[in-house]
Structure formats: structure tokens, C-alpha cells
């Protein structure tokens, strides 16, 4: 029997469009997530090398100073169970194959918040555990 993680699921949100990220973070926090926002690749890499690691990574494919693929790979290396959501402004372009065996969920901008919640609640083991825990 697995031990449910303590506290709300932790989300790391990486996007260069800072004002929109903050709005997204406020929505997610209202919905029970603990969100950290960073605006570039360097900050993301720094955050991923400190504990506690996030359960969920939401990253834009194009972020300043590096790219979403690198961030996702690094995060996956730290946490193989990490759930990854990639936000893209190129919905028609195939994703780089570097994400490994567990392909991330890709959502295009403009982001449909209801769809993001669906993804996070249905597909995330962490989120499921959180729900189970909160509903007793």
C-alpha cells in the first residue's frame, strides 16, 4: 500500500509570460495546488535541484534562456513519476522525441483551464491521492 504524499500536490510552472503565469498560478492555488512560478530556464533548473521536488511540472516549450524539453528531462531525472504538462504555441508541430518513455501531456495556448484541470485530476497519481485524502 502506497503512502499518500503529505500536503497538496506541488506544481512548478515555467513560462516567460509572467503575468499570465501568475494568473494561472492563482487559479491553481484556489483549486488546491501549491504552485511555484519561474520565468526562465535558469530559475527552473535551480528550483529542480532543491527539495522538495514538485509532483507536477507545467512548462512552456519555449522559455527564455533554455527550452522546455531540457527542463522536463532534468525534472524527470530527479523524479521519474513526475507528471509533465507542456504548453505550446505551436500546436501543429510534433514534440521533440527527447521526453523519453513517458510522453507528456501537451496543451496549446491559449490554455483551456478546464482541460488542464481534467488532465491534472484524472491523470496525476499525486492529484488522485490528494483528492482521495481530502474526501476522506
Amino acid at each position: 500500500m502506497s503512502v499518500p504524499p503529505l500536503g497538496p500536490p506541488r506544481v512548478l510552472l515555467v513560462d516567460g509570460d509572467f503575468r499570465s503565469s501568475q494568473r494561472l498560478a492563482s487559479l491553481l492555488e484556489e483549486d488546491g495546488f501549491c504552485v511555484e512560478v519561474v520565468r526562465d530556464g535558469h530559475s527552473a533548473v535551480r528550483r529542480l535541484s532543491t527539495q522538495p521536488l514538485p509532483n507536477i511540472l507545467i512548462t512552456e516549450l519555449h522559455v527564455p534562456l533554455t527550452d522546455g524539453v531540457t527542463i522536463a528531462r532534468l525534472a524527470r531525472a530527479h523524479n521519474p513519476d513526475l507528471q509533465i504538462v507542456v504548453l505550446t504555441r505551436h500546436p501543429n508541430q510534433p514534440l521533440p522525441p527527447a521526453f523519453g518513455s513517458m510522453p507528456p501531456v501537451v496543451l496549446s495556448k491559449p490554455l483551456d483551464y478546464a482541460r488542464l484541470m481534467e488532465v491534472l485530476l484524472v491523470e496525476s497519481p499525486a492529484a488522485r491521492s490528494a483528492r482521495t485524502a481530502s474526501h476522506g
Binding site: F18, R23, P64, L87, P110
Partner: protein, 526 residues
């Protein structure tokens, strides 16, 4: 007086006279019995020498020749030395030549015979032999002289034949070269037209036939320009041709479309040159390359490149549009939720403001995109450099002040007037100034100077510099700046190059300098 024959001349030279003839005749009669022995010994001696013997075909022939030798000896000592005699000796000489008897054997053989005859004379005549001996020496030398003539004749003939052969070979070679030349002209993948002094066609190769659709005999002797419809009405082609026909030199390459037999136009690049070989009266060779298909291919390629560039730009635009759309969308999601739970009105008002901002951002993006992709034509007028620099500085002053950046202008000592689009030039300066102000430094300097034929404008900041020196910062949608459209520098670059100027950048931590040069005057018609 009858002309002396060669034989008479020879006889006179060796002093062979009637007395000699009589002495020889007497000797011939006395020596008759000895002659077969001489002949036999003669041929026995030949048998000892390979090269000499090689000319004989067999024993039978030798027997026959021995008899001939006896006949000859009898004739030599016959006392009659007339033209018939000379002819017979010549014939023998020619036989020697024909059978390939080397001259050295003829000379030595004659020595052999001479020795034998003199010995016989001594033997038969004793003390009275001297005059006969002299006569014998004379007649035998005469024989030799005549026979050697045959060798000389043969030699001359051989030289003549060799010369003739050489001539024939040369002719063949020339013919071959001409054939090669003809087929080279004929099969060349270029149009080759030969023109006479009157500009009429005298040579029309296969490629010319293929491109024009005219058969050779249809155009022969007809005026080049008229037949191929080369003149576009300007008289240019005719002028060039007339000049070349008059001056006979290499001409400039010439582009002139020709009209085919079927009436189609083909683009041809001509090169005209004087013909050295005046065969068929050709003084000018026009070689032409049909570039119609090539040009169509190039145009197609350019069109593809344009489409690819448009595709790249469109993708860039689509990419950039999605961030403001995303911002608006997320704030609308928030608003929906806030309205449902009747949140703080100020919070909701802030969110609607953000949506408005994002819409403005979208509108700016689209406007800038059009500015870049399809700029309005330049409104060129004389512009004061100092006024333009000061105007740009005053426009950037506010943002510099709010960013805590000191903005200075370093103006030229005397004003410079340049021809430019003042509004677009201001846009360039403002773009560069705003970039510099936002670069993260403390001071920005705008500097203008004049050069001999251009002005230079520098915008310098003391910020941390551009990260990647190789970054394509002037490309559309290459931007690392938050909230930027990614078009600012692309538009700046476009305006500068539209003015036939240049823009480049030097950047290191603490000093980044954008460097613009603009020509003082714009070329006419542009």
C-alpha cells in the same frame, strides 16, 4: 647546234673517244673467252655477302644473271657507245635500284670487274696494254656514273613520293580537323550563327535550328536580326551588331529574346565575337544560350523562397499571438469564477484591464507585423540629422527617466542633411533607444556623426550585453525580451536596409553598441 645529251657530256668528261672505242672493241674480241669466268667469279663473290646475296631469288636466277653479265661485259667492250648504249645501261641501273641492290655492292662489284678486265688486258696485251687499260677505266667509270644516276633518280622520286604522302596526310588531317570543327559547331548545345559582313546568316547550327524552329535553308543569307525578330524596337541590338561588324572585336554579352518560327519568345544570352576564319564570308559569330527555362526555374525558386519566408513569418506570428491570447483566456477564466462568487470588484476590474492589455498587445503585434512584412514606401525628404536625433531623444526621455537610466545625446558639431524618411528614421532611433534603456544598464548614449558620403548613428548602453553573440537578433520573432513582439529589431533592420544603409552590433558586458550607417543621398528613382 644540237644540244649535248647527258651521256655525251659524260663521255666528254671522262675523255672516252673513238680511239678508246676501237681499243675496247679489239679487247672485247680478244677477251671473249674469259668473260664467262669473270661472271662466275663475280657471282661466287656475291654469295659470300648476305645483304648482296639477299637480292637474289634463287640459283636459276643467278645462272640467268651470269649470262646477262657476260652480255653486259660484251656490250661494254663492244666499241659502240651511243644513246642506245646509254639507255641500256640506265635500264640496268634501274633494275639494280628496283631489286634493292645497295649502292656499296654495285661500286665494289664494279671494282671486282675492273680488276679482272685490267688483268686480262695486261695478260693479253702485255706492254701494249696501257691505252686499253685507260679505255677500260673510262668506260667502266662511265657505266658507274650512269647506273648511279638511276639511284639518284629513284631517291628523288622517293622524296617526291614521301612529300606527296605527307601532303595527302596533311590533307586528311585538315579534313579531319574541319570535320571535327563542323561537328563541334553542329552538335554544340549552344546556338551558333555565323554572319557575313552584311549581317546575314551564313552558318546556322543544329541547336539554332532546334531553338528557333527554322531550318537552315530557310534562314541562309537572310538578315540575322529580322529573321529571328531580335529587335525590340529600341534599335539596341542593331546598334551593337553594326558596331561589331564595323570594328571587328569582342562584343559585350547581349540579352535579346528571339522569336521562333512558331512565334514564341525565347530568352537568349548572346555573345558576339569576330570570326578569324573568313570561311563562307563569315566575319561575326553569334553564340547564344537559351536561358528561357533557366530563368523560369530561377523565378520558380525565388517564388518558393518567398513562400517559405512567408511561411516562417506566419508561423512566427501565430506563435507570438498565442501568448496574449493565453493571457486574455486565463484572466477570463478567473473573471468567470470571480463573478460566480461575487468577488472584490477591484480584483475583477484589474482582470478586465489585463484582458484589455492583451488585446492591445495583439493589435500592436499585428500592426508591427504588417509594418515589417509590407512596409509603406519610404517618404524621402531632406532631413536634419541633429533635429532627428533630438526628437528621438525627447521621445525616449520619459521611459529612460522611469527606468532610472541617464540618456545623453552626442550631436555632430555642424548639422548634416540627409535624404531619408523622417518618421521611419525616428522609429529606428526610438526602437534602438528603448532596447538600450531596457538593457539593464545605467546610461544610454545616442551619437550622430557625418562621413564623406554617409552618416553614422550609434546607440550605446552599459548593460550586461547580448548573451549569444551569434544570435539572429535582427530576425523576425527572435526575442528574449518579455512582452516584446520580436519584431522591433527586424523592423529597424528593414527600415535601415530600405534606406540602403547598414546596421550591426558590438556587444560585451558593460558596453553594447548598435551602429547604423545611412547614405547622405538616395539613388535616383529609389
Amino acid at each position: 647546234m644540237q644540244k649535248e645529251t647527258r651521256f655525251q657530256e659524260l663521255k666528254r668528261y671522262v675523255r672516252l673517244d673513238e680511239r678508246d672505242a676501237r681499243l675496247l672493241s679489239e679487247f672485247g674480241g680478244l677477251a671473249q673467252a674469259e668473260l664467262p669466268r669473270i661472271a662466275r667469279e663475280f657471282y661466287d663473290r656475291i654469295r659470300e655477302h648476305e645483304d648482296a646475296h639477299a637480292v637474289f631469288t634463287g640459283e636459276e636466277q643467278i645462272q640467268r644473271l651470269q649470262k646477262s653479265l657476260v652480255t653486259w661485259l660484251t656490250r661494254v667492250c663492244g666499241g659502240v657507245y651511243d644513246e642506245a648504249y646509254h639507255e641500256q645501261t640506265s635500264t640496268i641501273g634501274r633494275v639494280h635500284v628496283r631489286i634493292g641492290l645497295p649502292q656499296r655492292y654495285m661500286l665494289t662489284a664494279m671494282a671486282l670487274i675492273r680488276v679482272e678486265l685490267l688483268r686480262i688486258a695486261d695478260h693479253l696485251l702485255g706492254e701494249r696494254a696501257a691505252p686499253t687499260r685507260e679505255a677500260l677505266v673510262r668506260i667502266l667509270d662511265l657505266e658507274l656514273a650512269v647506273m648511279l644516276e638511276a639511284y639518284k633518280d629513284s631517291f628523288v622520286e622517293r622524296i617526291q613520293q614521301a612529300a606527296k604522302q605527307e601532303q595527302r596526310d596533311l590533307g586528311t588531317a585538315l579534313e579531319l580537323a574541319e570535320q571535327r570543327y563542323k561537328s563541334a559547331v553542329e552538335l554544340a548545345a549552344v546556338i551558333i550563327v555565323g554572319l557575313d559582313r552584311g549581317g546575314c546568316i551564313q552558318l546556322f547550327n543544329r541547336e539554332a535550328e532546334q531553338v528557333t524552329g527554322y531550318a537552315r535553308d530557310e534562314v541562309m543569307g537572310k538578315p540575322f536580326i529580322d529573321v529571328l525578330g531580335l529587335e525590340d524596337g529600341s534599335g539596341h541590338v542593331a546598334g551593337v551588331l553594326a558596331k561589331l561588324l564595323a570594328e571587328s572585336r569582342e562584343g559585350e554579352p547581349l540579352e535579346a529574346a528571339l522569336r521562333t518560327r512558331a512565334g514564341k519568345l525565347r530568352e537568349v544570352e548572346w555573345s558576339l565575337s569576330s570570326a578569324d576564319a573568313a570561311a563562307q564570308g563569315i566575319v561575326l559569330l553569334a553564340t547564344g544560350r537559351d536561358v528561357t527555362d533557366e530563368k523560369a526555374r530561377d523565378e520558380h525558386l525565388r517564388q518558393n523562397e518567398r513562400l517559405a519566408a512567408v511561411g516562417t513569418l506566419a508561423a512566427g506570428l501565430a506563435h507570438e499571438i498565442r501568448n496574449p491570447l493565453n493571457g486574455a483566456q486565463l484572466h477570463l477564466s478567473f473573471l468567470k469564477r470571480a463573478i460566480k462568487r461575487k468577488s472584490d470588484p477591484q480584483e475583477m476590474l484589474d482582470a478586465t484591464n489585463v484582458v484589455g492589455d492583451e488585446i492591445t498587445r495583439l493589435a500592436n503585434l499585428v500592426t508591427e507585423f504588417l509594418d515589417f512584412a509590407r512596409p509603406k514606401p519610404l517618404q524621402l525628404k531632406p532631413v536634419s540629422l541633429i533635429k532627428t536625433l533630438e526628437h528621438a531623444r525627447s521621445l525616449a526621455e520619459a521611459s529612460a527617466a522611469s527606468g532610472g537610466v541617464t540618456l545623453t545625446a552626442d550631436l555632430p558639431g555642424a548639422d548634416v542633411e540627409l535624404v531619408a524618411d523622417a518618421a521611419k528614421l525616428t522609429q529606428v532611433l526610438l526602437n534602438l533607444l528603448n532596447n538600450a534603456i531596457e538593457a539593464g544598464g545605467k546610461s544610454v548614449c545616442l551619437r550622430g556623426r557625418r562621413g564623406p558620403r554617409h552618416v553614422t548613428i550609434d546607440v550605446e548602453d552599459d548593460g550586461p550585453g547580448i548573451n549569444d553573440a551569434e544570435a539572429p537578433i535582427f530576425d523576425a520573432f527572435y526575442s528574449t525580451k518579455e512582452g516584446g513582439t520580436g519584431l522591433g529589431l527586424a523592423i529597424t533592420h528593414r527600415i535601415v536596409t530600405d534606406h540602403r544603409g547598414t546596421i550591426d552590433v558590438d556587444s560585451r558586458p558593460g558596453k553594447t553598441s548598435f551602429h547604423v550607417t545611412l547614405p547622405l543621398a538616395q539613388a535616383a528613382g529609389e
